[in-house]
């Protein structure tokens, strides 16, 4: 078999552009999905029926649909539902955020539930309100406790951004696939794509391990 690796270098611009967009997709999605996940968890634990059902309904819907289906659906439904036409990038971010928010909601819910009751009671005993207790006592501990889970969600998300290539978002997977089709250099392009995803993903996983050790709450 003949390999022509020069195809990778000749098309490095497209690969770099794709990589940039992949990073933007992952960062933006997570920036939306972390507060959204916290909100979903607080709604779920609020005890107010409407909020509990809203949160549970959202979570169970988007956690149990294949991401690729959500992406396609967002692509076809969003413009009709809102009357605006969104760029593929925005559509992709919406779809990814729906999925990751649902996962984060469950992550934060577990984290909050894992903080023992005495901690919030101690805060109440100081005269703190429920919101102050949640904000200053429960959430900071819960977030630290779920960092490893958020980290694996992040690592998954980083790779799952490749799914938005199906609605022609020019991120790393889309550009690699396009180059593969144009140049017929299948193995070279797939290898380059794999190398880039891995090279970016591995240090992230390691960084998160470090963050986790650094900020772990010891009791």
């Amino acid at each position: 078999m003949n390999f022509d690796w020069s195809v990778v270098w000749r098309n490095s611009d497209a690969l770099i552009e794709g990589t940039k967009l992949t990073i933007i997709l992952a960062v933006t999605t997570m920036a939306i999905a972390i507060p959204a996940g916290i909100l979903l968890a607080l709604m779920r634990l609020s005890g107010l029926r409407v909020l509990v059902w809203g949160s549970a309904g959202f979570t169970e819907l988007f956690r149990n649909l294949p991401l690729i289906l959500v992406i396609y659906t967002a692509y076809y439904i969003l413009p009709v539902a809102t009357g605006f036409s969104f760029s593929p990038v925005i559509t992709g971010i919406v779809a990814l955020s729906l999925n990751v928010s649902a996962y984060n909601g469950e992550t934060f819910r577990a984290g909050i539930a894992s903080i023992r009751k005495g901690q919030s009671e101690a805060a109440y005993a100081l005269g703190m309100t429920r919101w102050q207790t949640t904000r200053d006592i429960v959430l900071p501990q819960a977030v630290r406790r779920v960092l490893p889970v958020l980290a694996s969600t992040w690592v998954s998300l980083f790779k799952d951004t490749s799914l938005v290539s199906v609605i022609s978002v020019g991120e790393l997977a889309y550009n690699s696939m396009r180059l593969r089709a144009q140049t017929y250099r299948v193995l070279e392009m797939l290898t380059a794509m794999a190398a880039i995803y891995w090279a970016l993903g591995y240090p992230q996983a390691k960084l998160v391990d470090w963050i986790n050790r650094r900020y772990a709450v010891t009791e």
Partner: protein, 156 residues
Amino acid sequence: MNTANAKIVRRAEGEPVLAYRQVGKRFGDLVALAGVSAEVRKGEVVCLIGPSGSGKSTLLRCTNGLELIDDGEIALDGKLLPRDWNGMRRVRQRMGMVFQNFELFPHKTVLGNVTVGPRTVLRMPRAAAEKRALDLLEKVGLSNKAPSYPAQLSGG
């Protein structure tokens, strides 16, 4: 040790600060408190003694409003304890409570643990709260532990 100080001196007088009248509390079928009556006056140190499961903590939790009583009444400074969350919260701001296993906040330093109450509840500015906290820590010989986390302290 100076044994002369161990003598119990009762110099409490006047109206009770805290009064329990026929307090009752149930958890489902379990009767935790039944007909508890007691009074605490200013200057008094009162010990609640009893075997495990006899309701000592329950009585304290009811006093602090972490549990609501089912029967009887509890009065603080002659006023019945409010039964709503916000009213009880204002009472708690004036009532200190130490938990069985301390319930220090593990994500906050010693200084953070001492200042979180004044800062969030009394809205004391950070600098003032920290100054007061450091003075108090100094008083109990813990000022050198101000930047430590609870996990770094020895128990007891």
